[in-house]
């Protein structure tokens, strides 16, 4: 036994010693953690860096893995080569995460000092953004924005002051939102052939909506003599506001206006949480009634947003609400069912006659920069070039790379990969090969489609690309632009507050359960009042207070003028 103890303790001492070394060298690395280059020797000759500089980046790449052409890879592809040749800027991914969770984990590991943080770090999680600020590893970039951000980008950033909230602390700006843009809103997709058969029109109010889904359920719209269709499919698995496809928010907003479920909204000068607004009670009563009559998907509470599409594609459901591009994802119904035809319509109006609202984020994540990174000018040069594709100017007038995301065949620009000189399975989204997850856009909720519909000639990439879509798809975007008033960004976009960190999960679960049980008829309508009481008692009230404090803080210091964005 004695021996065992001896050997054990020796082993433990050994490991401690080894670990100690590791930790030491780690911290040394950190101290010698220089930026890519000291900025002194870097010179810009005719818009090109000579000698070339390297910007290291972190990247989250999902769905996209395995989407490079033959002979190209993450750090060596058409866009990185372009950057080296034309700007003298080499982009190198040194930290790669697959999905959101994995990416955040890897970044936290990098923060623990095991390796150098990349120069440029996109962050998609407000808690992590906050932790990075606390760690002191990221840079205050207010001055850099003022000095280096090109004017056309300043014009964009000026429109979205609130999008800076997650990276502002004590009047300093520790990053910037990634290509802020109020993108497309939601539209209603309806089976036009069913409407025609039953002599109905696309609904514009709750009552009309109810009539249509009742008919879709009871009057055998597909004419097969079986009662196997229903009116409205949506997802309730992750709450009752999905924000992209299979969204039920329209029904709730019809009764609560701007206080939409699952979102913080400004109500009479005070931020409140939409899910506790009294109008939800009526909305739930309505949904419950529809559910018992079979107008809704029987399994709505277990369906994820993407899975709720399947019933529409199969030809079982008649109405679905989501982004206009959802048409491409459900149009297979026209293949599966003979004679099926999809029409788009704007979302319905509320009971007060006002429009219905929906959640829309201004931006997906924020850029943050390593505190030792000294080439902000180079970053903005590159970033601005990426925007060429959005503005339809300069090098990227039609797209990023000929033969990848566009091609010129017989003098005509085409965006159909099957028609390319060297046909492809699908377009190569070159914009994603840089440091943004999505290609920057300045099109808002569909301005290019709206302009085309009003007679603008398609003369740049953005317009030609828009023009190439199918009529129904385009129509959806035109509606989305016309209805842009419906888009409601969340009024709270900071890191979770103190009480939120401890109680939010529980409150959220309670909310989902209560809503689902009421819709399923497992609890009386009155359960909603009880829920609101419980919600307030279990930390909700505290959270409302904290969020309002956050808001008054966020709007106190005028950082916009500090960045020259006023």
């Amino acid at each position: 036994m004695k021996k065992t103890v001896g050997i054990l303790s020796a082993a433990v001492l050994m490991t401690v010693a080894i670990a100690g070394c590791g930790a030491d060298s780690g911290s040394n690395n950190n101290n010698s953690n220089k930026g890519s280059d000291s900025s002194a020797e870097v010179t810009l000759k005719d818009g090109k860096y000579d000698p070339p500089i390297t910007i290291t980046i972190a990247k989250q790449q999902d769905e996209n893995a395995g989407k490079y052409l033959e002979g190209e890879s993450l750090n060596d592809n058409v866009l990185t080569r372009w950057g080296e040749q034309n700007l003298g800027i080499k982009i190198e991914t040194t930290l790669l995460g697959s999905d959101g969770g994995n990416y955040n984990t890897k970044l936290r590991l990098a923060l623990s000092g095991s390796e150098k943080l990349p120069d440029l770090i996109p962050i998609y999680d407000t808690t992590l953004a906050n932790d990075l600020i606390q760690s002191g590893q990221v840079k205050d970039i207010a001055e850099d924005i003022k000095k280096y951000m090109p004017d056309r980008l300043k014009e964009i950033y000026k429109q979205f002051p609130a999008s800076f909230n997650p990276v502002i602390q004590d009047g300093k700006v520790y990053g910037m939102p990634i290509s802020p843009n109020l993108s497309e809103g939601e539209v209603m997709l309806i089976r036009q052939d069913w409407l025609d058969k039953l002599h109905l029109k696309a609904p514009t109010t709750i009552d009309e909506f109810e009539k249509v889904i009742a008919a879709f359920t009871n009057d055998d719209p597909d004419g097969n003599g079986k009662k196997d269709t229903y009116g409205f499919t949506f997802s309730g698995k992750d709450g009752y506001n999905t924000g992209w496809v299979s969204d039920p928010i329209m029904i709730f907003s019809a009764y609560t206006g701007k206080n939409i479920v699952g979102q913080w909204n400004m109500d009479n000068g005070k931020l409140t949480y939409g899910s506790i607004a009294s109008g939800n009670k009526e909305a739930l009563a309505k949904l419950r009634d529809w559910y018992t009559k079979g107008y809704l998907n029987k399994e709505l509470a277990t369906l994820a947003a993407w899975d709720a599409l399947a019933d529409f594609t199969e030809g079982k459901a008649g109405i679905i609400v989501g982004n206009p591009w959802m048409y491409d994802s459900v149009k297979d119904v026209e293949k599966n069912v003979k004679g099926a035809k999809i029409a788009v319509a704007p979302t319905i109006n509320g009971v007060s006659g006002e429009r219905t609202y929906q959640t829309k984020q201004y931006n997906d994540g924020v850029f943050m920069f390593n505190k030792n990174f000294n080439n902000m000018e180079a970053f903005f040069l590159y970033y601005d070039k990426l925007y060429d594709a959005a503005f339809g100017t300069g090098d990227f007038k039609y797209g990023y790379a000929q033969g990848y995301d566009y091609d010129i065949v017989d003098g005509q620009v085409t965006y159909d990969p099957a028609k390319f000189n060297k046909p492809l399975e699908a377009l190569q989204m070159v914009g994603k090969m840089a440091f943004t997850k999505n290609t920057p856009s300045v099109d808002g909720p569909g301005k290019s489609f709206y302009d085309l519909a009003n007679g603008t000639k398609p003369d740049n990439g953005v317009l030609i690309r828009a023009d190439a879509f199918s009529p129904t798809f385009k129509e959806g975007y035109v509606i989305s632009y016309e209805e842009r008033e419906s888009l409601l960004p969340p009024a709270f976009n900071g890191a979770p507050t103190k009480t939120m960190q401890t109680n939010w999960e529980q409150l959220n679960t309670m909310e989902k359960e209560t809503y689902t049980k009421i819709i399923y008829g497992k609890e009386p309508i009155e359960a909603f009042d009880e829920f609101v009481k419980q919600w307030n008692a279990k930390g909700g009230e505290e959270i409302i207070k904290e969020i309002n404090d956050w808001y008054s803080n966020a709007s106190k210091v005028d950082v916009m003028s500090k960045m020259g964005l006023n």
Binding site: A19, Q61, T94, E115, W306, V330, D332, Q361
Partner: protein, 289 residues
């Protein structure tokens, strides 16, 4: 004559029905996947496919094999499985042979091994270790950390213990060295155990995806399981910022089915060759004659 009784016959029938049901429960999901991978996109997205392909076509397989990333990942997985299994088997058999003998520090060593079964450093220390050893982005990061498993060691050690000491002594008298005894007596006699443990390790390597995502910083270095994880497993549903192209990638259910199916085939193909050793089974203690 127990198998002539009514009770036994009834049991036998029920037993077989039960076993068939269980095997169907394992087999039907695979069949469904295969049907999906051979159907058209429209049919799959419309929930029209069950166990028989609708609009039969090979497109998904063609696209998958044209994708250099998929085939590259497959090569990495195969390499990792072969190298990883060889290293693991070497480490475990040699250690198992030594541990099946009596020597003075044996118990202390055994304690050290068992501790690793119960406690691990956790994610962050492991990660720090691998990156400070400079193993990140190399094959070694995938094969070395898990090369030694205490559980497997105990299995192999117990197998070696069942081999009569007399055999070893005979070989020793004939002038064999310890290493020769190990190679020519012990290993050939414990093939069932080696095959079983080898298969555990192999399947483990083939299916491991987390380490690939953690230690590799470019997609072309992913093993197949990690690659599939990024393609097949979707984010957490709340994907508000999803762009249209991403949405399209998500709706390729038939393509995903093909990729999953292809990834299962190699490891299934290994089973029949090892089947005959399993009959012997594995000993975790107790007597088996």
């Amino acid at each position: 004559m127990y198998h002539k009784t009514k009770g036994y016959k009834a049991f036998s029938v029920i037993n077989q029905i039960f076993l068939i049901a269980i095997s169907l429960a394992c087999f039907l999901p695979l069949l469904h996947l295969l049907a999906q991978s051979l159907s058209s996109k429209a049919a799959v997205n419309g929930n029209l496919v069950s166990f028989w392909p609708v609009d039969f076509n090979w497109d998904s397989y063609r696209i998958t094999f044209d994708n250099s990333n998929f085939t590259g990942s497959m090569m990495i997985s195969i390499l990792r499985t072969v190298v990883g299994t060889l290293i693991s088997m070497f480490v475990i058999t040699t250690a198992g042979y030594a541990m099946s003998k009596d020597f003075r520090a044996r118990n202390a060593l055994m304690w050290l091994f068992v501790i690793t079964m119960l406690f691990s450093g956790g994610l962050i220390p492991s990660y720090l270790l691998i990156s400070s050893l400079g193993l990140k982005n190399t094959l070694w990061a995938l094969v070395l950390p898990g090369a030694f498993g205490a559980y497997n060691l105990i299995l192999i050690m117990n197998f070696f213990k069942t081999i009569p000491k007399a055999l070893e002594e005979a070989a020793f008298i004939d002038g064999a060295s310890f290493f020769q005894i190990f190679r020519k007596v012990y290993l050939p006699l414990s093939l069932p155990g080696l095959a079983t443990v080898g298969l555990f390790i192999m399947v483990g390597h083939w299916n491991a995806w987390f380490d690939g995502l953690l230690y590799m910083s470019s997609t072309e270095k992913y093993p197949l399981a990690s690659f599939l994880q990024t393609v097949v497993v979707q984010g957490n549903g709340q994907n508000m910022a999803l762009s249209q192209s991403e949405a399209e990638a998500m709706s390729q259910q038939s393509l995903k089915a093909a990729q999953i199916f292809i990834s299962i085939v190699p490891i299934i193909a290994v089973y029949p060759f090892l089947q005959r050793y399993f009959v012997k089974g594995i000993v975790l203690g107790a007597v088996k004659e």
